[in-house]
């Protein structure tokens, strides 16, 4: 790893570390009740008691941001899990066995990939209706094709390597070849796709919630806080800027890590 790559990696690690800490904080306790409205604190300025100020209902923005991070991370993790789990299975099977099954699945996959994942998620939400779990399902499904493609490409490369052929000649079963001999070599690729997946999931979740078809009120979410604060942008721009900055930090951390992890040269 050269110097610039190393500093990128460390920056990414630090940012992601902070985000993870904030997630844990949000899981344990928030400074204020994120749902408690305090008419006296409406649009309260940034201060020591309210780090990020208060919103139009006098709710503490920092507490709501903590919950928002927690929610976003939960959704992103679920989405990536769905995508990686099914994508890996699908990619391994199609990449290894090839044939007509691969042909059909990959045609279908290509059609889905030609489709931006946001659009795909919109279709699925259109079917399931808006909501947090619907969003997880929608984004998870929308992410499967890209994971499947990455895994398939890698498996395709590995399956024709001589060492896989050797193991075949020993008489090992296909399952053993896939699990024992191919899967461990997918580690690096999977790691970087998982991180990039987190990056995309955070972005998509925030976008969907901004549009109002993700996490539903009164539960706070970063995207939704942005769209709500936008109406008061003349009076209280800070309630939009803080949640926005947090989204930027999350994506920045993951993208820095994704750029540096896994791609060895």
């Amino acid at each position: 790893m050269d110097k610039s790559k190393k500093s990128k990696f460390i920056t990414g690690l630090v940012i992601t570390g902070i985000i993870v800490l904030l997630t844990l904080w949000g899981m344990i306790k928030t400074p204020y009740d994120p749902y408690a409205m305090d008419s006296g604190a409406k649009f309260a300025k940034v201060s020591f008691s309210h780090f990020f100020g208060c919103d139009q209902f006098g709710r503490d923005v920092f507490s709501r941001v903590l919950i928002g991070i927690r929610e976003t991370m939960f959704i992103a993790a679920s989405v990536v899990f769905i995508g990686v789990f099914f994508g890996t299975i699908l990619g391994m099977i199609t990449g290894y066995f090839g044939g007509w099954l691969d042909e059909i699945l990959m045609r279908f996959n290509d059609a889905m990939l030609a489709f931006p994942s946001i659009l795909l998620a919109l279709v699925i939400i259109g079917i399931f209706g808006p909501g947090k779990y619907q969003l997880i399902a929608a984004l998870g499904i929308a992410f499967i094709p890209s994971f499947a493609r990455v895994v398939r490409g890698e498996v395709l490369k590995i399956r024709n390597l001589d060492y896989v052929l050797s193991v075949k000649l020993y008489g090992a079963s296909d399952l053993r070849i896939l699990v024992v001999h191919i899967l461990p070599n997918l580690k690096t690729v999977l790691l970087s796709t998982v991180i990039i997946g987190f990056n995309n999931a955070v972005l998509a979740e925030a976008g969907m919630s901004y549009l109002g078809i993700g996490v539903q009120p009164p539960e706070p979410s970063l995207g939704r806080m942005l769209s709500e604060a936008q109406a008061y942008i003349y009076t209280s721009p800070m309630s939009a800027i803080f949640p926005g900055l947090v989204i930027v930090l999350m994506i920045l951390g993951f993208s820095l890590l994704g750029d540096t992890v896994g791609k060895k040269h």
Binding site: L161, D162, L165, S166, L169, Y170, G171
Partner: protein
């Protein structure tokens, strides 16, 4: 002498831009017990496809008859970097053949792995090393060792020394000769280097565009050939090596 392999009218057909293309075209030959049969040919002549078809790795488009007289023939490949799993230790790689087949106890397997390592002149410390810690020649020794773990009687060696420096090349060839004698192996040895084939093989086949154009004893093929392509090949080698 009996045969370890009989190939009759083997053809491998690929579709290339919808036109049929015969990578292997109506090939028939035998490999006799205990012999090293050389297969010479230039790149793209179909030697690798032929070996894959014989071992059943290539199945699509294969017609004709392939008859093995012993179970589980093995193969040694050209690129020693790609033929070892980078995520596994040498010990794991060597044990794998007898782990998937055969019912040996853990101790017995370990004993066999150690024995084999000795046979290919590698020290025991290598058991815990990973392939990328080894030199090209050492890796090729590991590959040979792994291919012999199931005690096969027939081995295909596909350009096993082409990627190596001359001095290492010689060591590996000497190792193959030794193992051939000790284990009474039959080997189909594929190479583009006519000197190596002459050095190692009893009988030689020359392949061009999917066909065997000449086959016979070493001396016959090298000095009393009938086919014009063989003549061309030998002439090129003669000028090159003087």
């Amino acid at each position: 002498m009996s045969n370890v392999l009989e190939v009759r009218n083997l053809t491998v057909e690929f579709k290339k831009n919808k036109k049929p293309f015969y990578a292997v075209n109506d090939v028939s030959f035998d490999v006799k017990e205990g012999e090293i049969l050389g297969l010479a040919g230039e790149s793209g002549c179909g030697k690798s496809t032929l070996s894959r078809a014989i071992l059943g790795i290539q199945k699509k488009g294969v017609t004709g008859e392939i008859r093995h007289y012993y179970k589980r023939p093995q193969m040694v490949f050209q690129d020693p970097a790609g033929s070892l799993n980078p995520a596994k230790t040498i010990g794991f790689i060597l044990e794998e053949p007898i782990r998937v087949r055969g019912h040996f106890s853990k101790e017995e397997r370990e004993r066999r792995v150690k024995d084999m390592l000795k046979k290919v002149d590698l020290p025991e410390e290598f058991l815990t090393r990973y392939p990328n810690e080894l030199s090209g020649g050492q890796r090729q020794r590991v590959c040979i060792a792994a291919s012999l773990m199931q005690e096969p009687r027939f081995l295909i060696a596909d350009e096993p020394v082409s990627a190596l420096d001359v001095t290492v090349q010689k060591q590996i060839l000497d190792l193959l000769k030794k193992l051939h004698k000790e284990l009474n192996l039959s080997i189909l040895f594929i190479s583009h280097d006519l000197r190596v084939i002459f050095d190692l093989c009893d009988r030689v086949m020359v392949m061009k565009s999917g066909k065997i154009v000449e086959m016979g004893d070493r001396e016959e093929v090298y000095f009393h050939h009938k086919d014009p392509y063989t003549a061309q090949l030998m002439e090129a080698a003669r000028t090159k090596y003087q």
